[in-house]
């Protein structure tokens, strides 16, 4: 990877958000991924989501592990604080950071090797703790930087570029998150920006851990005939089962939707997730039914996508730890240090 600053040229007619920022202001440095990589489309979707949500760039913490996907935080929100952690261990960094300063917006980007193999444990426990963050899993079923080994999300029967066939059962992040009590579980496709952007926005506004598994084909090592993570295979088998929009509190008044026609879920911050399309016999608030639905469609050879499960009011990491509302980093030393007199009292038990 190289560091190539993009030229800062602003066209006067570029639209700005409420902060006066254009989409370009949410971009980062030039991508060094392969031309056509699904990850770059996801980067574009994150940029769009952040711009639409009017996030203050320097109040965003973007984190990643190691791998192709983990390079991408460099390519969005250049004015955000970034953290490129060690392989598979981004959830721990995010957990510690979010515990100490929940006032930042945390966006984690990881891959299927990073999240489902070396970092599977960390992902599981971040889901269990319901750490308040958006977690984008850019899933291509293959190790790119080391040139084409199967990852833990490769499907049984999927064929590698060099011909080997995967025989191990895949770890499905959506089913995993449902099993672990994930509070926001979604799947999308890097090629479906219309579906992905609202999911990312909702995930950012969700209070808790928002897992978004995004199938993101690897053009270099996993886009051939016989791969089940290729553009072609994904397009042929994808079923956009759930369509949802995020309606911000400020926009709610003018939003033209009929609450009776579609299901609407209000998030703790007042924004509303409006489900436009939901399959029959499906309820995004019912974890077991979602699980059964996803498994059923998979058995039928489909990849159902959309915001599949949502529990907006579940306790998060801060609730579990019974922490004060003030971010720990904002507490004064006087509030933290009990002082000499209190020490005397404490030590009475040791005399």
């Amino acid at each position: 990877m190289t560091y190539i600053p993009k030229p800062r040229v602003r066209h006067p007619t570029l639209p700005t958000n409420a902060l006066g920022l254009t989409r370009r202001d949410y971009e980062g440095s030039m991508s060094t991924l392969c031309a056509g990589c699904g990850h770059d489309s996801i980067t574009a979707a994150i940029i769009e989501a952040a711009w639409e949500l009017e996030l203050e760039p320097h109040r965003v913490a973007k984190l990643s592990g190691i791998g192709c996907s983990s390079k991408t935080p460099t390519y969005f929100i250049g004015a955000a604080h970034g953290f490129n952690a060690v392989h598979g261990r981004m959830p721990a960094i995010a957990t510690g950071a979010e515990a100490a300063n929940p006032d930042l917006t945390y966006i984690g980007v990881s891959g299927d090797g990073d999240s489902l193999a070396i970092g599977l444990g960390q992902l599981c426990h971040a889901i269990r703790r319901n750490v308040d963050m958006l977690y984008v899993l850019e899933n291509n079923g293959v190790y790119g930087l080391t040139k084409g080994q199967f990852s833990a999300s490769a499907d049984v029967g999927s064929r590698a570029k060099r011909g080997q066939v995967n025989r191990l059962e895949p770890i499905d992040p959506v089913l995993l998150a449902l099993t672990l009590g994930g509070t926001f579980v979604a799947r999308s496709f890097s090629g479906d920006k219309a579906q992905l952007v609202p999911i990312l926005k909702a995930g950012i506004r969700h209070r808790g851990f928002a897992l978004v598994d995004v199938i993101s084909p690897c053009v270099a090592f996993n886009d051939h005939e016989g791969s089940t993570k290729s553009y072609r295979y994904t397009r042929d088998h994808l079923e956009a089962a759930v369509e949802a929009d995020l309606v911000l509190p400020t926009a709610e008044i003018t939003a033209s939707y009929d609450p009776g026609a579609a299901r609407a879920v209000t998030l703790p911050d007042g924004s509303v997730i409006r489900f436009r399309k939901v399959p029959d016999d499906f309820d995004p608030s019912d974890r077991d039914r979602t699980y059964a639905y996803v498994r059923g469609r998979q058995e039928a050879g489909e990849i159902p996508t959309g915001l599949l499960h949502l529990a907006p009011d579940a306790p998060d990491h801060h609730d579990f730890l019974e922490m004060v509302e003030t971010p720990l980093v904002n507490l004064s030393f006087e509030e933290l240090c009990p002082g000499a007199d209190a020490l005397e009292d404490v030590l009475a038990a040791f005399r």
Partner: protein, 619 residues
């Protein structure tokens, strides 16, 4: 008087720990210097466990391995327990059943008390009988050792005061033992307790508890950890103190995040994450945890993120002996992680220093933006020590190091994370969310002084070389070594951490025999100039430490350039706290000219045959 050691052999899970703690505290309250070593198995119930108490009017609190009195309560270990009693000593045993003939020795006195029978006759319920047996032997010991019964009863009241029935039975049990001993034995024994005034202004505390208090006082707001003996009690104590001292008075919610991680890898990552956003964060672990944390330690070193890590050492390698002490991590912590790294390490010798160094560790970590280790061991961390009371200066304010404020960033032309602007090898850092100009990309991959990704040799080396200078430059800011000089000494001892007590006692006893040694106890790494001067200033230096491979000696060789030949390794590393005898034997047996050597038969002579042979060789 006030110079003896006794050992209590019991079965773990039978409640002996509280009885032993009671004895320790009663002696402490009598004003007598005392130390206790809990030798416990890695088990919850049913295996042998021992508690050693040493009483020393002179204040020698190192372990002593020759026992005047053995309280033999576990038939499973009778044979080895009997052997550890010095000739002329005593064995207190449960005479409800006869002792096997082969256990008997003519050179010790057996004091039989029918403890089980007494408890069975007097108390109901199997559990109560087992528990109270410990209190009965405590009563016997009180009579034999002339323990102040008023003090003992007051301690029982403090412990069980709210539970009347429990208090009554404990009172009765302690009296039963006391009266039985007075009636049947010649009390007190020649080796017994005499009240002193030595513990004024002192407390009885373990190192983990003291370190936890240090973390509270330093303003730590995040702790992430994974349970592991012998460091678990540090975080448990931290949580306990926070429950008491860190609650918002209005909401009852906590001003702290104590996160039990899924493993040590995650614990280290959470600490790095919390520190990255500006919290004072720490973890506590032991050797296996350090191994797992090493990857993140390297990241924190390279990305320059403050991190405080307590390593309460136990015996390694691998799982080793989890409930035995050692100093086996010295080399590991000094250079933890792959690649070129070196870390600041503090070495407390006792709980008082655990408290102080906990606070210093946070200041150093933030000033130097790097991991700082506080390395104690199981003996320091989990055993109770008599130390001067912990003191706090309300004028203390944390040294946050160079953290740029929003205003400073606003006024800056441009911020570069790894650019050494001040010429002290320490660039300024920013906290996420402070100001748009402060944003940068934290990474463990190659980066240049501007914080940009690089694969360029010179740009990479530029940062790495500054890091080396930064850490070496911290040496003079670390706690100074403790130095004891003896007039005319040509020999020196270099030691570290929990070896302190054994070394100082050995020094006194060697001096009594005319052998003068200087002592330096290292308290920080990288080593300061005093360490090099000490090594250069002595003909021969003994490096006393508790590991097989002489790791401190290795570090001294690597870091000071002093010839390896000048240093001789001394120590014990089998899991027991160091004794003065270990040190004396090591020095006298090293085969070097120690200077003045006294005649063969000295009344104060060390009893061990091995030691006598060593001296003969000298003569």
């Amino acid at each position: 008087m006030n110079d003896f050691a006794f050992k209590i052999a019991t079965v773990n899970g039978t409640g002996s720990a509280s009885a032993n703690g009671l004895l320790m505290k009663a002696i402490f309250r009598m004003g007598i210097p005392v130390s206790g070593k809990n030798l416990f198995p890695s088990n919850i119930q049913g295996l042998p466990t021992w508690y050693e108490i040493r009483v020393s009017g002179k204040g020698h609190t190192a372990r002593r391995a020759e026992f005047d009195l053995m309280v033999a309560m576990n038939p499973a270990t009778y044979a080895r327990d009997m052997e550890e009693v010095r000739p002329g000593g005593w064995v207190l045993h449960d005479s409800s059943w006869p002792l096997a003939d082969e256990l008997l020795r003519d050179d010790v006195t057996f004091l039989g008390v029918p403890l089980a029978r007494m408890c069975n006759d007097r108390f109901d319920g199997a559990r109560a009988r087992i528990l109270l047996k410990n209190i009965v032997y405590s009563g016997v010991l009180a009579a034999l050792l002339k323990l102040d019964m008023e003090v003992a009863e007051r301690l029982l009241t403090e412990t069980y005061g709210r539970k009347k029935a429990l208090l009554d039975s404990n009172f009765e049990a302690v009296r039963m033992g006391f009266d039985y001993a007075r009636e049947h034995f010649d009390c007190p024994l020649p080796n017994h307790l005499e009240p002193m005034e030595a513990n004024k202004g002192h407390i009885l505390i373990d190192g983990n508890t003291a370190a936890a208090l240090g973390c509270v006082y330093a303003g730590a707001t995040a702790a992430a950890w994974y349970p592991i003996t012998p460091s678990t009690s540090l975080v448990d104590a931290f949580q306990g103190f926070c429950n008491r001292l860190r609650k918002d008075p209005e909401t009852g919610r906590s001003r702290v995040a104590v996160i039990q991680a899924e493993d040590e890898l995650a614990a280290a990552g959470m600490v790095v994450g919390a520190s990255w956003v500006g919290a004072r964060a720490f973890t506590a672990t032991s050797g296996p945890g350090i191994s797992l944390m090493s990857e993140f330690i390297g990241l924190a070193y390279y990305a320059e993120i403050p991190t405080v890590i307590f390593d309460v050492q136990r015996t390694g390698p691998s799982t080793g002996m989890p409930t035995r002490t050692q100093q086996g991590d010295l080399m590991t912590v000094a250079y933890a992680s792959h690649g070129d790294t070196k870390h600041i390490v503090l070495f407390p010798a006792h709980p008082g220093e655990c408290f102080e160094m906990a606070v210093q560790a946070f200041d150093l970590a933030e000033r130097y933006q790097t991991p700082v280790f506080v390395v104690s061991d199981l003996d320091i961390g989990m055993n109770d020590w008599v130390v001067p009371t912990l003191e706090w200066d309300d004028a203390y304010r944390p040294d946050r190091g160079k953290v740029l404020s929003a205003l400073e960033l606003e006024e800056m032309e441009r911020f570069h994370r790894y650019l050494d602007v001040d010429g002290d090898e320490i660039p300024a850092r920013t906290l996420p969310g402070t100001h748009p100009k402060g944003a940068f990309f934290t990474r463990g991959s190659g980066h240049d002084r501007f914080g940009r990704y690089t694969e360029d040799a010179d740009a990479y080396a530029d940062v790495m070389e500054r890091l080396a200078r930064k850490i070496d430059g911290a040496a003079e800011a670390l706690p100074r070594p403790e130095v004891h000089l003896a007039p005319g000494a040509q020999l020196g001892i270099v030691t570290v951490g929990g070896c302190r007590g054994g070394v100082l006692e050995a020094r006194d006893r060697l001096l009594e025999r005319g052998v003068a040694v200087d002592v330096i106890r290292i308290r920080g790494f990288p080593f300061g100039r005093e360490v090099r001067e000490f090594l250069e200033g002595h003909r021969q230096v003994f490096v006393v430490e508790q590991n097989r491979d002489a790791q401190l000696l290795g570090l001294l060789t690597l870091e000071t350039g002093v010839p390896r030949e000048r240093m001789i390794p001394v120590g014990s590393w089998g899991g027991m706290p160091l004794t003065a005898r270990d040190v004396i034997e090591g020095i006298m047996g090293a085969g070097v000219e120690v200077g003045i050597v006294v005649e063969e038969e000295t009344p104060e002579a060390v009893e061990l045959p091995a030691a006598r042979e060593c001296r003969r060789r000298q003569v």
